[in-house]
Symmetry: C2
Subunit: 363 residues, 2 copies
C-alpha cells in the first residue's frame, strides 16, 4: 500500500436476508451468516480476503440491526465497526452511511473506501487484493472505480459493465465504463460474451469518500445531505440522527443512484473465478458435482439421480430416487424441493409460507 | 353367524415391515403400525372391521417378535392372542402356526379361520363382513375360499384370480378359481380387466383348519408336520417347539404353497372399494388429491405443483415449487424424494441406506 497516500477503509455490506437460501437461510440466519460452500460463513470468508490488506480497525460491516450482535460475535473486528442500519435500504444509503462513519474517524484526511458485498465466492484472495490495491491507487486520482469480472459464460444472473477504451494494462487492466447493463436475457448475454467488451458487475466499488459525496450531491442530493448531517453531529447525537435520517432515504442501489450517471467511472478487470452466490444453483456449482452431476452436502443416499443439489441437515438423511435437476434442502424444521431452473422462485415460496400464518416458525 | 356350526376365528397377519413406507415406516414402526390414510393405525382399522363379526378372544394377531409388545399395547385383545413369530417366513408358515394356535384352543371342534393381512384399506366394513360370513359358510362345506375384488382398473400392483364357473349368486357371488396369476404387466392387466373373469387377489382366505392341514399334508408336508407337532406338545413346551420348528420352514406364500395347487378353491366376489396399501401411491389415492392432484398430509406449501404426494412430519414444513408426480415425505430424521412411478424402488433405497453404515439411525 506504499502507493496510497490516504487511509484506506473497507466496508462490507451485510444487509442481505436469507430468503433465497430458505430453508437453510432464515430470518435469524441470513445468507452472509451461512456456510454455503465451505466450513466458514460467507462473511468470514469475505473478511479473511481483506485482512491481509488492511487492519481490522479499518474494516466496517454495515448490516441489518438484527444481525449486529451475531456478526460482532463471529468476526474479530472492534465491535463498534459493526453498525446496524435502522431499516433496510439498498446499497446507496448504505454507502452514504459508510462514508459518514469513515469521515467521522478521519475528519482531516480524505479516506478511500472499498465497498463490497458480504457474500461473494472467489478462491483467489490474493488476486482480489491485487485488483483492490490497483483500484485504490486509481481512486486516489479522483475516479470512481468498479470491478468487472471477465465472463466465461453468458450468465443471465448478473448485471454487466459495458467497457469503453482501455486506460492501462499494468498491473491491472482498467477501462472506461460506457454503460451499466441490467441482468440480460439469454440472447443478450450471449451477445455480451461474444462482443468481448462486457464484464460482470461484481458490486465491488472503490472511491475516495469525497468523490462519492460529490457524486451524491449531483445525482442523489438527499443522500449527500444525510452524510453531511451525520458527519456534523456530536457523538452523543449520532444514533438519533441516523435513526431519523436513514429511514427517509430512498431504496436505491449505488449503481442506479450514482454509477450509471456519473462521469469518470472506470472498471478494473478481474480475471479470477467469481460468483455472487445468488441462489442454490451457485452453491451447486461451488460444491463440485460428482460424475452424475450431483452435489451433496450432509448425509444423502441418491439412487439413479442426476444433476441435483442435495443439502442435508446434520443428522438428517435425504434419500432420493430417480430425480434430475432438482434442488433438495432440509434444514431444521423445513424442507425445500425445487427444480434447478426455478430456484429464483424460492423467495416467492417463502412469501407464501409467511402468508400461511404459521407464525415465524418456518421463516 | 347362525349358519356357522363351527367356532370362527380370525387371524391377522402382521408380519410386514415398513420399508416401502420409509422414512415414515422404520424398523421400529412397520406399515401395520402406521397411520397412513386416517388417524388410526392400519392394524386398528383392520381389527375394527372384524370386531362386529367375532369376539376379541377369537381374533389372533401373528407378527414379528419385535412388534408383539407395541401391538399388545395398541389393540384391545387378550395379550396371549398376539403371537410373535421367531423369524419372518411369509404367509404359509404363518397360516400353519395360526392353525396350530386355533386347534390347541379347540381340540374337539373343527374351527374355521379367516386369514387376512393387517394392512388393507377399505371403507365398507359391513360389506367385508357380509362376504366373510358367506365365505365361512362356504368353507364349512370343505372348500378353500379366497376373496377376489372386482377390478375397476388394470392395476399392475396386485395378483389376480382367474375365475371359472359361477357357483352361487346370492347372497354373495362365488366362483371356481381356475388359476392364480402373478402381478401382470400393463398389457396383461388390461386384458384381464377386459376379459371380465379376473379378480384382484385380496390375500384374504377362509377355510376350516382341518381342510388347510389336509392341503398342507399334500402340497407342503413340512408345514403340516409343524402344525401337528405344535398341536401335540404340552403348553410348557410350546414356545421351545415353535422356536425350533418355525425357522426351519421355507419362506413361501400361502398362494404358492397351497392355493395354486389345491382343488376346490373358490372365490367370493367382493365389490367394495379395496386397496392393499402397497406403496406411497396407494396413500396418495386414499388421501383424496385436490384439484391440482396434490395429496397432502402435514404442513406443506406447494407453489405450482401437480399430482404430488406430500407427507410432512409434525412441525416440519415441506415447501415445493414446480414439481410434478413426485412423492415427498419427511419423517423424523429422514426425507424421501421419489417420482410416483418409482415408489417400488423405495425398498432399494432403504437397502442402500442400510449398506451405507450409518447404523440403524435412519432405518
Amino acid at each position: 500500500m506504499a502507493d496510497l497516500s490516504e487511509p484506506l477503509y473497507a466496508v462490507i455490506m451485510a444487509g442481505g436476508r436469507g430468503e433465497r437460501f430458505w430453508p437453510l437461510g432464515r430470518k435469524s440466519r441470513p445468507k452472509q451468516l451461512l456456510s454455503l460452500t465451505d466450513e466458514r460463513t460467507m462473511i468470514e470468508n469475505t473478511l479473511n480476503r481483506l485482512t491481509p490488506l488492511l487492519p481490522p480497525e479499518r474494516i466496517l460491516v454495515l448490516t441489518n440491526r438484527d444481525y449486529v450482535e451475531p456478526i460482532r460475535s463471529l468476526l474479530p473486528l472492534p465491535p463498534e465497526n459493526v453498525v446496524g442500519e435502522p431499516v433496510a435500504r439498498d446499497t446507496a444509503p448504505c454507502a452514504a452511511l459508510a462514508a459518514a462513519l469513515i469521515r467521522r474517524r478521519n475528519p482531516a484526511a480524505v479516506p478511500t473506501m472499498l465497498l463490497l458485498p458480504s457474500v461473494q465466492e472467489l478462491r483467489d484472495g490474493a488476486a482480489l487484493r491485487r485488483v483492490l490495491r490497483a483500484a485504490a491507487a486509481r481512486a486516489a486520482r479522483g475516479e470512481l472505480v468498479t470491478i468487472g469480472i471477465r465472463p466465461d459464460s453468458p450468465n443471465t444472473g448478473f448485471g454487466y459493465l459495458e467497457l469503453g477504451a482501455e486506460l492501462t494494462a499494468e498491473p491491472v487492466r482498467f477501462y472506461q465504463v460506457k454503460a451499466f447493463r441490467e441482468k440480460p436475457d439469454p440472447e443478450t448475454a450471449k451477445r455480451f460474451l461474444e462482443a468481448g467488451n462486457f464484464r460482470w458487475n461484481s458490486g465491488i466499488f472503490v472511491w475516495r469518500t469525497g468523490d462519492l459525496l460529490r457524486a451524491f450531491r449531483r445525482f442523489a442530493p438527499e443522500l449527500a445531505t444525510m452524510t453531511e448531517q451525520l458527519c456534523a453531529v456530536p457523538d452523543s447525537e449520532f444514533s438519533a440522527t441516523l435513526e431519523r435520517l436513514f429511514p427517509a432515504c430512498p431504496r436505491i442501489s449505488i449503481d442506479y443512484a450514482v454509477m450509471e450517471k456519473a462521469d469518470h467511472i472506470v472498471a478494473a478487470e478481474a480475471t479470477f473465478d467469481w460468483d455472487d452466490v445468488g441462489s442454490w444453483n451457485s452453491v451447486r456449482q461451488r460444491l463440485q458435482p460428482d460424475d452424475a452431476g450431483n452435489a451433496v452436502r450432509g448425509t444423502a443416499e441418491l439412487v439413479d439421480c442426476r444433476n441435483c443439489l442435495v443439502v442435508g441437515d446434520s443428522d438428517h438423511l435425504i434419500g432420493a430416487i430417480g430425480v434430475e435437476d432438482l434442488v433438495i434442502v432440509t434444514a431444521g424444521n423445513a424442507t425445500l424441493v425445487c427444480p434447478r431452473n426455478r430456484v429464483q422462485e424460492v423467495k416467492k415460496l417463502v412469501q407464501a409460507v409467511a402468508e400461511a400464518k404459521h407464525g415465524d416458525r418456518y421463516l
